[in-house]
Amino acid sequence: MQPISGEFGAINTLNGLLNQHPISSLHNHGQLPQFDPVDDFLEQMLSSPAVYPCADDHSQQQMEEHSTSVLASKLRQHQINSGAAKALMFQRQLLLSTGLAAGNGAPRSPTLSDHNDGIDGNGFKSIQENDASIKALFNGFTGSLGQISNQSEHFHQPQNFGGAGIATPAAMNEATVSGSSGGGASGQPRQRVRARRGQATDPHSIAERLRRERIAERMKSLQELVPNANKTDKASMLDEIIDYVKFLQLQVKVLSMSRLGGASAVAPLVTDMSSETSKEGTSMSLTEQEVTKLMEEDMGSAMQYLQGKGLCLMPISLATAISTATGNSLKINTNSDAQAPTSPTLSVLTVQSCGNIKGDAIDQG
């Protein structure tokens, strides 16, 4: 096997290889010895553009996937840089490496049968489809960029069939490769963009597209944070976000108002000055109303309000038990109608200090 001296030399040897070993031979994954000469040559070819940092513990399959992705990325890079012959070479490498992966998949790891079957089927498909394209390229090898870009598009589609696993590392590797080599017209790390790379040289439009994609990404992540995010319209989504942020800020405000340690701090939120001062008979109804109002929004604030007046909540059963136990004249107000929204078993018991229940005279606070 002659080493790869020039691109033309490589292509000629490849051509010879392809004519000697027809593609159908690759289908027979049982016949390993047939692969050996192809193997050596391919290993040579694959080792030359070895960019990927292959650790030793990587499985062979992974290495080949990496190599295909790296080769795919390099292929695109070279297409962009209008290296026609190099592009062809990399195309060959990609094809043969996928063929190699397909061929070597089955005999090597019988446990991963499903994975291999997928690769086999797809690899064979791609090889069959690209056989014609390769022959056409060989015949019409003039090195025109348009032709190659056409072929590259045709090539990409079967490649995309050939495994999502290859696509994602390809996208990631593309970013690194393009970053390292400072790729010419396309700085996009996206595989889905189908624009003719040779012609999309307008940097403004590409930058615009990048920017829009980034914004779309951020909007998606925001959508997950904000509840009620089923709006597809960007404007309404923005409105939703703004409302949500305002709502959160309002929550902080309300919580800071009710958060203060003193219970009477809650009062000015809901009541007027008159009900704060302790009164006789009528104050009870006012207090009850305020308590119910507060209980509807937040139990904590309601409890604090009661505490500020020296009151607390207890179930009716306990109140009656205390009253019968102590035998003192207690005034127990059961406000079933006032407590209706919450529960009929609660009542408001007036105690002067929460600690004294046992035997002392409990007056109305």
Binding site: V226, I241, V245, A265, C312
Partner: protein, 139 residues
């Protein structure tokens, strides 16, 4: 990005420390007038935002803006080619602290993080409130 549990712990500790400071500053007995109460409310709210900003640190643009506001320095109004008028981000840059001096892309980023921190802060305040109120009902 940020693990929610660690964020919550940070926020909680800072907020509680700030509240303790506040307690010593303010009058311990419940203030009588409404104006004093309003002052206390505002102080608590400011403590909440300050603790949030200091817990996040200068890593985020909004926290930097908040800290600047707390320290009383002038707002750093630098508009690098203001593209906010697009996509209707006018209102958002008014709400998120430090929103004017950002471009649309990073504004959305900051908003996402700001929302996360706000949610955590609200949760903490609620939990503190509930725990204090529930403990006090023990007779």
């Amino acid at each position: 990005m940020k693990n929610p549990n660690t964020l919550k712990k940070k926020l909680a500790s800072r907020f509680l420390k700030a509240m303790k400071k506040l307690k010593y500053k303010m009058s311990p007995s419940p203030p009588a007038s409404i104006a004093e109460k309003k002052r206390r409310h505002r102080a608590v709210r400011a403590a909440a935002y300050a603790s949030m900003a200091s817990a996040v640190g200068p890593r985020r643009a909004w926290s930097r803006a908040l800290l600047r506001k707390m320290k009383g320095r002038k707002r750093a109004r630098r508009n690098p080619g203001n593209m906010n008028t697009r996509f209707g981000l006018n209102h958002l840059c008014d709400i998120v602290p430090g929103g004017e001096a950002m471009d649309s892309c990073s504004l959305l980023n900051e908003t996402a993080h700001y929302i996360k921190c706000l949610v955590a802060q609200v949760q903490i305040m609620r939990e503190i409130l509930h725990s204090s109120s529930s403990s006090s009902t023990i007779l």
